[in-house]
Symmetry: C2
Subunit: 266 residues, 2 copies
């Protein structure tokens, strides 16, 4: 049976972090990905204690950045908090800088900022996750849109970096299979996020589909990720007004059922 993790974003509109952690524990989920802003809402000490009581482990911590002057000054503090939560990896938010620059220059600037952060991340035992985001979010939320770019950055920056593969963001990429293999060969796949792409998609951010409700060949993608050597859980991450309006426990039950349908055989 596939191991399933949850990203808090999937239910964040109706379940605060403590409720989310309880819902995970009730369902036997062991791994979660978490958000700094959600920790702030409930208090770090309380959130940390609840995680320990429930025996939950942190996969990814959102997020380091934006890489503006203010974001950079906060990055060290965010890294330290991610380490306190025992995160495996931290997400870089690389958008937000295109008002001052064109995308080529911004890519170089953000990569340098990541390189500058890397020693601190390594010292804390955290990996920097380069997650290519869908090209419709280019400039706004990321300057990196393909797994090929993410792999190239990891090649240049070296140890302490890795990639996260999110189905919604990369399913359209004609180079996907080869870049998953490349990432696997370098042992740098940090996470595999599952969701779906609906036709039509009505919003650039808030209309992801539930696993199985869209057109992504999730089984093939999961095969490619497994064949590349990734042994971690599939992580459910769905940003969706539709699903945010539903009962969080029900959403998680549906997602788990769909994950078993699609991924158990892989």
């Amino acid at each position: 049976m596939v191991e399933i993790a949850f990203n808090h974003a999937t239910v964040r509109e109706r379940a605060d972090m403590l409720e989310f952690l309880d819902l995970c524990a009730e369902r036997g989920v062991q791994y979660v990905s978490i958000w700094g802003q959600e920790i702030d809402k409930v208090g770090e000490d309380v959130a940390l204690r609840r995680m320990r009581e429930l025996g939950l482990r942190t996969l990814g911590y959102h997020r380091i950045g934006p890489f503006t002057d203010k974001g950079l000054s906060e990055a060290q503090r965010e890294l330290e908090r991610a380490a306190r939560f025992g995160a495996d990896h931290v997400y870089l938010f690389t958008g937000g800088g295109l008002e001052q620059s064109h995308i080529a220059g911004e890519r170089a600037r953000v990569e340098q900022a990541a390189a500058d952060l890397l020693p601190a991340a390594r010292a804390l035992g955290l990996k920097l996750a380069i997650e290519p985001l869908h090209p419709m979010l280019a400039g706004d939320r990321s300057v990196f849109s393909t797994l090929a770019q993410a792999n190239a950055i990891c090649d240049r920056l070296g140890a302490g970096t890795g990639v996260v593969i999110d189905a919604h963001h990369v399913w359209w990429d004609p180079e996907l299979d080869q870049e998953i293999s490349r990432a696997g060969a370098a042992d740098r796949i940090l996470g595999f996020h599952v969701n779906d792409w609906q036709i039509p998609t009505r919003d650039l951010v808030r209309d992801r589909g539930m696993i199985g409700d869209g057109v992504i060949d999730l089984a093939s993608m999961a095969h490619a990720v497994r064949d590349a050597g990734f042994q971690g859980p599939v992580e459910v991450e769905i940003f969706s007004d539709k699903w945010w309006n539903e009962d969080p426990g029900v959403v998680m039950d549906i997602a788990m059922s769909r994950c078993h349908d699609v991924f158990d055989a892989i």
Copy 2:
């Protein structure tokens, strides 16, 4: 001074094809791209006569497809109409088939359909334009999302095929410059569509920006296209509720002014 062409889509909500042609002629525009459904609205004979009276030339004809059974049976008829309008190239609509298939299979199926159409297009003196559409439209309106894919298809299908480079669709692509060069080296660039990408973009289809209102480095892209040997006009193509609500002549004047600002020096 840059030569400017207009795609009827830019003003289609408030100017039918005849009005559009008049507006072009009044502004000294010589090249237009046209749509079969807009021809139907005013009548083919009337549209053809107006084009001839005004001395206008057709760049692109929209569209051949979708490549469903029904679309294929209509393709020959559409090709013949495009030829009557003296089109340089015809656009393939490659979306709409993902309900039955996954994207990898659909890509192969559509490419085969294009190969099957090619002899008829060649006989009519029409080029089949492969226009990569933004990945947010993958499956819905196209199964081809990158210029690398379009180039590869042209490599395989050979004479009578080419690519159209639309800024809004490809600006995010990290491989853009090299793929523009590759297309130019093969002498297959059929068109260069200009518009802009706004942050935020509020709709996947109907929120393109006016040239200069967004974050695309249009000057660099135009340099790359010119350096690749393309000598044709820049073609204004803006799908936008905002601009569709404005007076069509005013929209065209603004677009022409912006084109001169950005492209005259290139």
